[in-house]
C-alpha cells in the first residue's frame, strides 16, 4: 500500500453505472517524512476519508477487494486512515549471508 494525503475531490455526473455512489478523491503520494512526492492518483474512498487526511491506498486488482468497490472498475482504493506512523532505521538485521 502507498502512503498519501487527500488533496481534493473529483466530481463526475456522466460515468459508468457501477461507479455510482463512490466518492472519488485525489490522493497525492507522500514520503515517510510526510513531504509530497510528485505523483498522485484518483482513488475510491472506502473508509470515509476527508481532505488533508493521511491515508493508505491499495492499487491494482486489490482495489476491488472492499464492500464498496467489489466488481467495480476502480484501480485504487483508500483502505485506511493513518493515525500514527513510526519509522526506525538501523544498520543490521542479524541475518547472515553465506
Amino acid at each position: 500500500m502507498k502512503l498519501g494525503r487527500v488533496v481534493g475531490t473529483v466530481w463526475a455526473t456522466r460515468k459508468v453505472d457501477s461507479l455510482t455512489g463512490l466518492k472519488l478523491l485525489i490522493v497525492r503520494d507522500l514520503d515517510l517524512d510526510h513531504s509530497f512526492k510528485s505523483s498522485f492518483v484518483v482513488a475510491a474512498d472506502s473508509v470515509g476519508a476527508g481532505v488533508s487526511e493521511v491515508v493508505l491506498y491499495a492499487g491494482g486488482s486489490s482495489a476491488r477487494q472492499t464492500q464498496v468497490t467489489t466488481d467495480r472498475p476502480v484501480d485504487a482504493v483508500i483502505m485506511a486512515i493513518v493515525d500514527r506512523l513510526d519509522v526506525s532505521v538501523s544498520d543490521g538485521d542479524g541475518v547472515e549471508s553465506a
Binding site: 500500500m1 502507498k2 502512503l3 514520503d31 515517510l32 512526492k37 472506502s46 473508509v47 470515509g48 476519508a49 493508505l56 491499495a58 492499487g59 491494482g60 486488482s61 486489490s62 482495489a63 476491488r64 477487494q65 472492499t66 464492500q67 468497490t69 467489489t70 482504493v77 483502505m79 485506511a80 486512515i81 493513518v82 493515525d83 500514527r84 506512523l85 513510526d86 519509522v87 526506525s88 532505521v89 538501523s90 543490521g92 538485521d93 542479524g94 541475518v95 547472515e96 549471508s97 553465506a98
Partner: protein, 95 residues
C-alpha cells in the same frame, strides 16, 4: 515475491473492516544484496515481523491470500521472515 526490511509501523483506527486485527508495517524493498530498491511501502503482516527484520513480501492481489477474509483491499503483504540467505548475488561486473 521480494525481499524487504521492516522499517516502521503504522497505526490506523478507521480502516476497511477486513483489516481489523491485522498489523501494518512499513517495509523498504531490497535486492538480494540487501540494497534498497524503490520507495518504502506499507504492508500487512501475516507472520508477526518485528523492527529491522528481513522479510519476504508478496504483492498485488495475492497479498490478500494469506488472510482468511473474503474481501481484503491490500496489495502488499509480509509472508515470511528470512533466517538466512545463501548464494552470491553480486553481478560479476560489479566486483
Amino acid at each position: 515475491m521480494n525481499l524487504a526490511r521492516v522499517i516502521g509501523t503504522i497505526w490506523a483506527t478507521q480502516k476497511d473492516p477486513g483489516l481489523v486485527g491485522l498489523g501494518m508495517r512499513i517495509v523498504q524493498p531490497l535486492d538480494f544484496e540487501r540494497n534498497p530498491i524503490g520507495a518504502p511501502e506499507a504492508a500487512v503482516d501475516a507472520v508477526g515481523a518485528g523492527p529491522d527484520e528481513l522479510v519476504i513480501t508478496v504483492g498485488s492481489r495475492e497479498a490478500s491470500l494469506p488472510f482468511d477474509v473474503a474481501l481484503l483491499p491490500v496489495d502488499l503483504a509480509i509472508v515470511g521472515i528470512v533466517d538466512r540467505i545463501d548464494g552470491d548475488f553480486a553481478p560479476p561486473w560489479r566486483k
